[in-house]
Amino acid sequence: MELNANAFGRNSRKALLDKTLQEALGRTTGRFQAHRDAAVAAFPEFEATRERASRIKRDVLDHLDTYLARFIAEAEKRGTIVHVARDAAQAREIAARIARDEGVTLAVKSKSMASEEISFNEALQGAGVTVVESDLGEFIIQLAGEAPSHIIAPAVHKTREQISRLFERHLGEPPTDSIPELVGMARKHLRAKFLSAGMGVSGGNFLVADTGSVVLVTNEGNGRMGTVLPRVHLAVVGIEKVIPRMADLPTFLRILPRSASGQAISSYVSIVTGTRRAGDPEGPERMHILLLDCGRSAILEGKYREILKCVRCAACLNACPVYQSVGGHAYGWVYSGPIGAVLTPLLVGLPEAAALPDASTLCGACADVCPVKIPLPDFLLELRSDAREQGLKTPGEIAAMKGYAGVMKRAGLLEAIERIAGVLGQFFTKGKGIGGLPYPFSGWTERRDFPAPAARPFRKQWKIKRGARG
């Protein structure tokens, strides 16, 4: 999808002023987090399971070549056709070719963040294929012509009133403010698509190396429909999604739904392995897996390897007060919230997204909830440092930092400056908070007072009362 990450500042100011968005965020904010916390509290083994999941993922990444090779071999043994794409352009080309070769005109797609990375729908539309999103949230934003704003709840920014208007316009349904009625309309419309589509497109939550299986986790059941009914199944999956063994799957099934939506398990887990077997009454005749590198092998090589442990649960978004304030679109690409603030610059290049690592107070709420223990705040700090080294900081910031360091090098100089500030403070504000300051402090003083500097700093007081010895 189109990249607009460096406009985070502008995007977020717009988001803060968008009344509908704020209302949608207000209706949902905190619910995810509360559900997640309750589910974790009800599962005493969560921490041990989390540690286990984290170590399994680390092991996978340290040996990704071995595990991925195993996965491909096992998948091919069971009739799956495996494709590999280095970048988005190549992935689009391969996807379009698959659709053409399979003679597909209608595809139903279940939710896949990886497919958003490569602008999958546009690629297929270019090959004359209609792609219908089947996840309810994705379906809604597809009708609206927008991009997802949340990993697991893509239409979290839409109110029921907006959705009803979309269904009226695009599906010819009567207006309603009943959510069950809206769900029923989508069900009816999409059921017909499932039954007539030639190809089901999915992502993959996990790739099981020892069996060559793709695992899909959904609540709606669309992943299940799309991998049972159409004659072709195409899974678009990042190479890092491998887990070693089928026996490891329960570990991840115990942490993913709890972290994502607070459920002990999602409604549907589909473990699909290869094509329909002789005697099977249904199932795809052809199965393709399109494995995406798209920057992942480069990440694997560097200091950010652990970001590839991510299972896309979105717990970090839900925990993040910045995300909760501005929603997902402000982040300007596929991934939002803390994971987006780290992953986007790594996938698209830091110069294209240097504003994102700054979009955090470093409060650490994300790391608290990450089910695979990704050190997100450490990575944010690391990226900010990379930005300096790559010359991406503004001259103003660097000058300010140099000035600050110059002052802080000498306590005497600091003391002198404090003295002047103190005098000015007393003169202009009589020691009250300061109501208006020039840039870069002007944003602060829009709705907050800035503290007045003390007339006599502590160091000075101490010297007077206790002597200069320290």
């Binding site: 619910r31 959705i163 299940r224 799957l249 570990t251 002990a264 549907y268 249904e282």
Partner: protein, 212 residues
């Protein structure tokens, strides 16, 4: 294509730093935390219900009338079951007088039947840990009753209830059938204003009939 694959593996091997190909074998924590205490079946009843399912376990006559009532309340008019599933057939046929219900086939439903349907199927396993029904395509079994029906009725022999997901997988993943499905509660979505609503694409009601 093969070249692209080789090139990917060259990049991966370089990134993984020339390890010996051996995979870490250190013991992991949290692997077997959930051996359910006490009665597996009692736990399954609890978790299945907690996941939003309706569990029936009673003398057969009472169960049939309860089930008939539940299906009528959902507006069900037609029942279908796999041709080769004797237990499902027996129960569906016995239910007809509690309706009125018609018997139909998966093919008819797939062709786009407008009736409100209940799909019957014998589960391969129940998982007590999560209240999950397991269905697979092993041996040419169909998945359509749990996929297309408005109400899914699972026949669960108590002997098929296992404690944890690992146990179900170690039994059912042998030979890796094309499809292994874990079904837990009804189909649901919270995509509109985070409001939980059932019946997104799959069954709006999940019913389990515990036998034995």
């Amino acid at each position: 294509m093969v070249n692209e694959r080789e090139s990917l593996f060259r990049r991966l091997s370089a990134a993984c730093g020339g390890h010996d190909g051996a995979v870490a074998g250190e013991p992991l924590p949290g692997g077997a935390p959930l051996a359910p205490e006490g009665d597996r079946v009692a736990l399954f009843e609890k978790t299945f219900t907690a996941a939003g399912g309706i569990l029936l376990r009673a003398p057969v006559e009472k169960t049939l009338s309860d089930l008939g009532e539940t299906l009528r309340a959902e507006g069900v008019t037609a029942l279908f079951f796999p041709e080769d599933d004797a237990a499902s057939r027996e129960i569906a046929e016995a239910l007809v007088p509690f309706g009125p219900f018609n018997l139909t086939t998966a093919e008819e439903v797939r062709e786009g039947s407008t009736s409100v349907t209940a799909g019957f199927r014998t589960a391969e396993a129940g998982i007590a840990e999560t209240g999950t029904i397991v269905e697979t395509s092993a041996g040419g079994k169909t998945l359509l009753p749990g996929l297309l029906a408005d109400v899914h009725v699972s026949i669960v022999p108590v002997t098929s209830v296992v404690g944890r997901m690992e146990e179900a997988l170690s039994i059912l993943a042998a030979g890796t059938p094309r499809n292994i499905s874990f079904l837990t509660g009804p189909s649901k979505t919270a995509d509109i204003e985070q409001t939980l609503t059932v019946g997104a694409h799959g069954p709006k009601k999940a019913i389990a009939l515990l036998l034995g």
